[in-house]
Amino acid sequence: MSTHTMANPGKNVLEVQDLSKSFTVSAGSGGSRKLKALDGISLSVGKGETLGLVGESGCGKSTLARTLMMLETPDSGSVRFDGADPFAFKGKELLAWRRRVQMVFQDPFASLNARMSAGQIISEPFATHKDLYRGSAARSKRLNELLDLVGLRSTDAYKTPQEFSGGQRQRIGIARALALGPDLLILDEPVSALDLSVQAQVLNLLNELQQQLGVSYIFISHDLSVVRHVTDRVAVMYLGRIIETGVTEDVFDRPLHPYTAALMSASPKLDPAMRPAKRIVLKGELPSPLDPPSGCRFRTRCWKAQDICASRRPEATGLGADGNISLGLPTIGPAERAHMAECHFPVSSPAEAGLVPA
């Protein structure tokens, strides 16, 4: 989020390598089929950095969030949090790790228990982590601190969720997530359920909290304009795989993968100047994850698809700083800065993507 305090490369809060997760789904009359929700996800998040996760419904971004929060256990792949694998933790260590990663949920109405007061909701984590704030005095001090941090009054602690607006409820959710002082916050579509005017308030709040607390964010959303405004780097997901990743400006101004280009082109723009001359309207919809297309998963809707796309899954091709597209792992620039996409025939120029050159 913060442009001036550049995330110091090399010091990654979180590193994920080849994470896969599939669910067995009972398909009607007997017999069950494997639904590959995550199919080899790799990503990393720097200290104080905001990584955006963009994708349409059914691409697996919520499953990824739940897996990183250990609400689901992955089938394969590794997760490193500050160098340690949280899935190997047990008991005390696991509890200690829990404090360092927290989550803010999408629906402000469903994420708060209607029978508890705001104060009880925010200090619920203290019940499990008793050693953090001994005694009720320390706790109520911390509670007031948190309320103030998210712009609520200390008298709000006694109100029940029904007495708050959508925006205020989301602030309570954020306060609860900050209660244990985490290093990484996973924000699962935090503003999608809010009205436009309230959305801006919460985005500003998240921006300020990151500058104040230096907490890193994984910002999940399907709204491109919000992602463009909020994230430092972005990863575009399609049917369980990350098909393009890079610094936000690069990806938005020079999308490499046809799907990213189609996303940018299809989304309606408020400013007429930003509208593409020739809009790409994809055919059909997301194929069923129960039997994803072979090779490149996007080939069934891609206008550049050729035979090779069906037979071989494309490996990552990078965009060098000098603008030419090189196959295989690019050597230029630190891994985090690289602009990568999984496609045999990446989009060569913004014009081809129908985008107005920035």
Partner: protein, 358 residues
């Protein structure tokens, strides 16, 4: 200035009015007394054009649409005003006459197709129902019409798919079925209540393209209800901005969005994170919309308006002409007009600095 949308190039005077709503009032009876949720709403929808009802949740736009279509919930009722569809006032019509109109001259598309389609009937039966009611067709004839309709909205293999059930279709497909149902008897007016809010961006583009094509083929007037400014910017010819049950501004989209003459419209436009420089503050509208139960006397926007003054708290401003068939309900709309008069040259819609008298 903006190149006018092609349909607007048609000379103004040849536009025939399809729907003229004047002074529409809708009340909801609650145990603690009746609440006015739609207050003196007036607008006109022209043939072959799209009029957008724009506003945040709870502003009464959906209630207005339901009042026009005569589908209000039992607790709500039209308290006054005229809804003239092709000259005939729907409010004074008998229930039987109103039913005769539903279908042949007025169609409606709902937001969430999964709940709007009857789960226990096949898609073919439901599509054919309009023909059986209004054209007295038997099952077989109605089914043929249904198949034709499905082909027209782009559903593949309609002969087979007609006997499938709603839960066997994807989101986009179901929305196409709803649209097909609404245009079955080529109505003069099509009301689309947030038709693509539940869909992903790439599918939204397909559905919007379909709606545009059907509007031209049937030469009908479309009333589009949405909260997405970008969709209004791209799809609508005229826009009516609603806030807390009242119309605060209306006029052609091009002029209203480039030179808003109401602080709420301007506030909304500035809350959209377009390509404003990444990371800095989004100017957001403080507070949240008032509950319809306790709308303040005087201007409805007074609690959140940066230009609020004494007069705003006493008298509620009437809609006044502020531009070429552009109207705004604000005592200080002339302040915004003069500013808009000399638009700053760059495209971005950053708001000219208002003397902040908060």
């Amino acid at each position: 200035m903006m190149e006018l949308l092609d349909s607007q190039r048609a000379a103004e005077k040849t536009l025939t009015t399809v729907l003229a709503v004047t002074g529409l009032d809708v009340d909801i009876r609650t145990p603690t007394g009746t609440v006015r949720v739609v207050n003196k709403v007036s607008f006109t929808a022209y043939q072959g054009q799209t009029l957008a009802l724009l506003g945040e949740s709870g502003c009464g736009k959906s209630m207005t649409a339901k009042a026009i279509a005569g589908l209000l919930d039992p607790v709500a009722s039209v308290a006054g005003g005229v809804v003239a569809l092709e000259g005939k006032d729907l409010n004074t019509m008998s229930a039987r006459a109103r039913r005769a109109v539903a279908g042949p001259s007025l169609g409606i598309v709902f937001q969430d197709a999964l709940t709007a389609l009857n789960p226990v009937y096949t898609v073919g039966t439901q599509l054919g129902e309009a023909f059986r009611i209004h054209r007295g067709m038997n099952k077989k004839q109605a089914r043929l019409q249904a198949i034709e309709l499905m082909r027209r909205v782009g559903i593949p293999e309609p002969e087979v798919r007609a006997s499938a059930y709603p839960h066997q279709f994807s989101g986009g497909m179901r929305q196409r079925i709803l649209i097909a149902m609404a245009v079955a008897l080529s109505p003069r007016l099509l009301i689309a209540d947030e038709p693509t809010t539940a869909l992903d961006v790439t599918v939204q583009a397909q559905i919007m393209a379909l709606l545009r094509r059907l509007r031209e083929e049937e030469n009908m007037a479309v009333v589009l209800i949405t909260h997405d400014l970008a969709v209004v910017a791209e799809e609508a010819d005229n826009v009516v901005v609603m806030y807390a049950g009242n119309v605060v501004e209306r006029g052609p989209v091009a002029t209203v969005f480039s030179a808003p003459t109401h602080p709420y419209t301007k506030g909304l436009l500035e809350s959209v994170p377009t390509h404003a420089v990444r990371g800095d503050e989004l100017s957001s509208i403080p507070g949240s919309p008032p509950e319809l139960k306790n709308i303040p006397a005087g201007c409805v926007y007074q609690d959140r308006c940066p230009m609020v003054a004494a007069i705003c708290r006493e008298t509620r401003p009437e809609l006044r002409q502020t531009g070429e068939n552009q109207f705004s309900a604000c005592h200080f709309s002339d302040v915004l007009v003069t500013q808009a008069g000399n638009p700053t040259n760059d495209h971005s819609l950053t708001s000219p600095q208002l003397e902040d008298n908060q």
